[in-house]
Symmetry: C2
Subunit: 168 residues, 2 copies
DNA sequence: CATTTAACTTCGTTTTTCAAAGCTAAATTC
DNA sequence: GAATTTAGCTTTGAAAAACGAAGTTAAATG
């Protein structure tokens, strides 16, 4: 996970620096399913101890998981989602949604997500307008802010101008 | 990107098989910013030609990008987002949103996303209830469907029972 | 027709990732 | 309280991936 030139200065790149390897998101998926212990993660994912150890340590360092001693066993540790970790929920839900839609399983549904308060299935992840209406990529135009990486900013502005000229 | 045992049978894992490496999401980010040509991707990302070539071919094979001859230059090819590719928009927006919130840049905003129809900034990505209200991870309980990987299903059901016993 | 350009391939090297085995300290069993 | 098991790492040699540089092909340019 070395930092490469040109891969910073954008929210996507910054997030991928934290969870953009092949294991972190699967570890976090399990964390969202209530997994907390080293051996429970390892049992689920067929991941080697060295990699799991490394990934957990990194996620802790990045503030996504919190490591605390297990209350019932002095050897064991619990890894729990922090507020920042919980805030990755839309990422996981949107990944799950895409997989369900574009890589469906002929055997049927994989995961049903139910709103606890009502017992109803949730609608899923969406990009929303200020008014709360769902938006597609075509409905949105990006604008470079002051902190955007310069080469990306140029790209974004070119794209924005092109969008302005085409049909809204 | 070898398929590992136990990393299938879940929407998240299926999606990560397509875009879960270090480059694909950055390539797609640029595609959403209007980049279409091999050399334009390469200029933006500091990626080697061999890896870029491989990733683009994979994304085409997976149905996320479409490769077509460039209309203005017989040598060149254009890589454009397919419907499936456009449908990854919530993934990218939620990644961007997390990066902006938890890895802010002191210099200010990076990317502003504007709804084209209204000119207003968008609200962003969210997980929604059936009624359209935003939900956090704590508001949702997962339920295993018939196609969920068996070991994950066990986990999910355990977690669901635990949730039922705790405060809603 | 010689040169440049777009988009790859190939190749040898460096970097990263991996699985398997070993380690340590706490808990459990006898 | 010695022996064994367990949780959670480290270490290590091997495998995989990514890298840059050079080579390839076919179209465009001059």
């Amino acid at each position: 996970m070395t930092v490469r030139p040109g891969l910073t200065g954008c929210g996507v790149a910054e997030t991928l620096k934290v969870i953009g390897d092949r294991w972190s998101l699967l570890i976090l998926r399990n964390a969202f399913h209530g997994v907390r212990r080293f051996d429970a993660f390892q049992e689920q994912l067929s991941i080697s101890t060295s990699v799991l150890s490394d990934r957990l340590a990194r996620l802790v360092r990045e503030g996504v998981l919190e490591r605390r001693p297990a209350p019932d066993d002095g050897r064991a540790a619990e890894y729990r989602l922090t507020e920042a970790g919980l805030d990755l929920y839309p990422v996981l839900i949107s990944l799950n949604q895409w997989g369900d839609r574009w890589r469906p399983d002929p055997a049927g549904e994989r995961l049903r997500l139910i709103e606890r308060a009502t017992g109803q299935p949730i609608r899923g992840a969406a990009v929303l307008s200020e008014a709360g209406a769902p938006l597609t990529a075509r409905d949105v135009a990006p604008e470079a802010g002051p902190a955007l990486a310069p080469d990306l900013a140029e790209l974004v502005e070119t794209h924005r101008k092109r969008l302005l000229k085409s049909a809204p």
